[in-house]
């Protein structure tokens, strides 16, 4: 298709409605419609999308930080008196199990109460975004809980009772170690091996060995390696160039997640951030990407959807905004492409790490 450099751009509405999105995320933090009830066990991820979204929009002032902080701490699975549940520690997605509300230990024994790796990741990230110092996080317990989730092949379960295992949870695990500044929570070598074996013949990365390469798993793999500081050790330049090519071919106008699939707003972040980590995002077409993302903006209720004229949801709202942040949309904070939090939040985390180091020495 020929480039239309000089031609008139069809004036769909492509202005970014910041205030609508602020309200959208505020509502996410209040009550969600019943059709989202399948998110009950992962409500903490919704909180993360809303908080991080508001942070990128530079609108965290609308949030009741102390109240949210307490709620997040109430989701921490803490060691019981006899410490027999260390392998189950971390954060829950919500109070759905019915454990009595508590923001401090010791943990309450319950036969089925355990953490979920994605909730530990989003819980820690949310606390950092809220400016918390993580002093009430039992870091050793979180790391013990994480270690209990890693399989022989290097990948991770989501929960100690067992679940599916794939690249998503490798990424969550890497984020947890990175935020806690402690890589004893995982066998890095095994995780790297899992990532390497998940690279497909077409040079994208799948959820596991043999599986179809996918924008989401490619992001999880590359971002995890970047957080570990191992990207160039694992993939020599020739392979990085191949991965770059696979990723950059995902742009159609917005981005899709697999060849011959329709585009979807969230891939503007998954693939965009991967390209940024690989230092070639600047070679994508910003204008077409921006136009696509904004075509999925819901002008009435705020937020973004995967496609135009579809219902917005917290995930696509968040990643739509992050996708715009990557291209430098004005009045949006920069997002760290591997850790997926704002530069401001990252700065706070780095300060915490400095404090921890100073306390140790």
């Amino acid at each position: 298709m020929a480039d239309e450099d000089g031609s008139f751009v069809d004036f769909e509405q492509i202005d970014f409605l910041r205030d609508r999105h602020v309200k959208f995320f505020q509502r996410c933090l209040q009550v969600l419609p019943e059709r989202y009830s399948s998110l009950e066990t992962s409500r903490l991820t919704i909180v993360f999308f809303a908080l991080s979204g508001l942070d990128v929009l530079d609108a965290l002032d609308v949030v009741n930080k102390p109240s949210l902080t307490e709620w997040i701490y109430s989701l921490q699975v803490l060691p019981t008196d006899d410490q027999s549940n260390l392998g189950r520690c971390g954060f829950r997605g919500s109070s759905h199990i019915g454990v009595p509300y508590s923001t401090k230990g010791p943990g309450c024994p319950h036969p089925f109460d355990s953490a979920h790796v994605a909730m530990t990741y989003t819980g820690l990230a949310s606390l950092i975004i809220l400016g918390d110092d993580l002093s009430r996080v039992n870091k050793q317990a979180c790391l013990a809980g994480l270690k209990a989730l890693q399989l022989e092949d290097g990948s991770f379960y989501a929960v100690p009772e067992g679940s599916e295992n794939d690249m998503r949870f490798v990424y969550c695990a890497a984020c947890i170690c990175y935020m806690l500044n402690d890589w004893t929570g995982m066998d890095v070598k095994k995780a790297i091996d899992y990532i390497r074996r998940s690279m497909s013949y077409d040079n994208g990365i799948g959820q596991g060995a043999g599986l179809e390469s996918h924008g989401g798993s490619t992001f999880c793999a590359i971002a995890a390696l970047c957080l570990m500081g191992k990207l160039e050790e694992v993939f020599p330049k020739r392979e990085l160039d191949r991965i770059r090519r696979w990723c950059i071919m995902r742009q159609q106008n917005g981005f899709h997640g697999r060849p011959n699939k329709p585009v979807d707003t969230c891939y503007s972040f998954w693939v965009g951030a991967t390209l940024e980590l690989l230092d070639v995002f600047r070679y994508t077409n910003f204008e077409k990407n921006r136009n696509y993302i904004l075509s999925t903006q819901d002008r009435l209720v705020g937020g973004f959807a995967k496609w135009p004229d579809s219902h917005p949801d917290p995930l696509h709202a968040y990643f739509g905004i992050c996708g715009l942040s990557l291209i430098g949309e004005s009045n949006l904070r920069r997002v760290h492409p591997a850790l997926n939090i704002s530069d401001r939040a990252l700065e706070h985390m780095q300060q915490l790490h400095r404090t921890w180091r100073d306390t140790c020495t």
Partner: protein
Amino acid sequence: MTCFPLPEMTSKRRDWGDCSATTDLRFIAAATGETCEASSARSAPAVRFSPPRCPDWRRSPGRGWTRGRRKERRSRRWTASRRWASRSPSRGVTCFTVTDVFDYFRALLKKDEKSERALALTTEAIELNAANYTVWHYRRVLLQALQKDLREEMRYITAIIEDQPKNYQVWHHRRMVVEWLNDPSEELDFIAEILSQDNKNYHAWQHRQWVIQEYKLWDGELDYVEELLEEDVRNNSAWNQRHFVVSHTSGYSDPSVLEQEVQYTLKQIKKAPHNESAWNYLKGILQDRGLSSHPGLLEQVLELKETHCSPYLIAFLVDLYEDMLESMDGGQGQEEPLSKALVLCELLARETDTIRKEYWRYVARSLQTRFGSGDPSVPTVETEPQTTPASD
């Protein structure tokens, strides 16, 4: 459904700290005639769910009453909770809500009760929220403790997956039950049925690969892949599955297998030239041996370029020339393949793949840097850095 006399539920409510009620229905217990208040919801400040009303009709601001958008399916949760509510209290039948089901679930979970009524409750809970992984885990515990008929369970799982084919928990549950039964005999047909509804369903393909690899069911899978590619040669999942099967059976080291695959792929490309999946497959099976080492390939592709061109073909040629340059290893004769590659990069940038024009110019610059002699007659490409489009 029998009543669950669990009066301690109401006192539990106090322990749920900073909560607010989203429902406060009363229900009548059929068996005992007892009246109990349903416990309040357990959501704290952040992110609560409104109780199930009738999502079919919704009042959208500015749009009045609408029936919801095209892509939305009728909410199963509505159906389930409506079924509960529709039983007439005057006939003394129990009325439950979503909240009640999960309140009871929480109570049984804490007791770790192993009973038929617990199993029945997990069925109700799954209908209301099939994504609750704790319910599924508890169900597995019960299936084993009560020694339930796993074949019946497989029928149940099949129905759930048909209804919700993108739910992670039910696919994982299926895998567990197949493992317990040690019987994959229904799997390939079942997955094929799911794929007939959405032939790119990642869960289905993942389960399929697991079954095939675990139980060594490679026979016939290549035929299945070819059937799918006949239906839709652009199905990237099918191409991936092709690679999965071949690499785990004959492998690509056998030259006759490799040639067969190359010819098969070129044939598909002729049928549908603008197909990234086919080109990715071709490149993928040849790249580690060197694209330029495959005899006759360059000529075949140059021929295709005349009648079946595409951005993928041109990019393939760039990669082929790059491989040629690499194997020359700084020796003589680099100018020609380099010049050809640079011309093709510019063709991509200017004409055939303009959305990636900055990238193709970056590729050209890299090639020039790595293989160029600094000879001024060789074309070089200058670009300006990209600026963010005006966004205010």
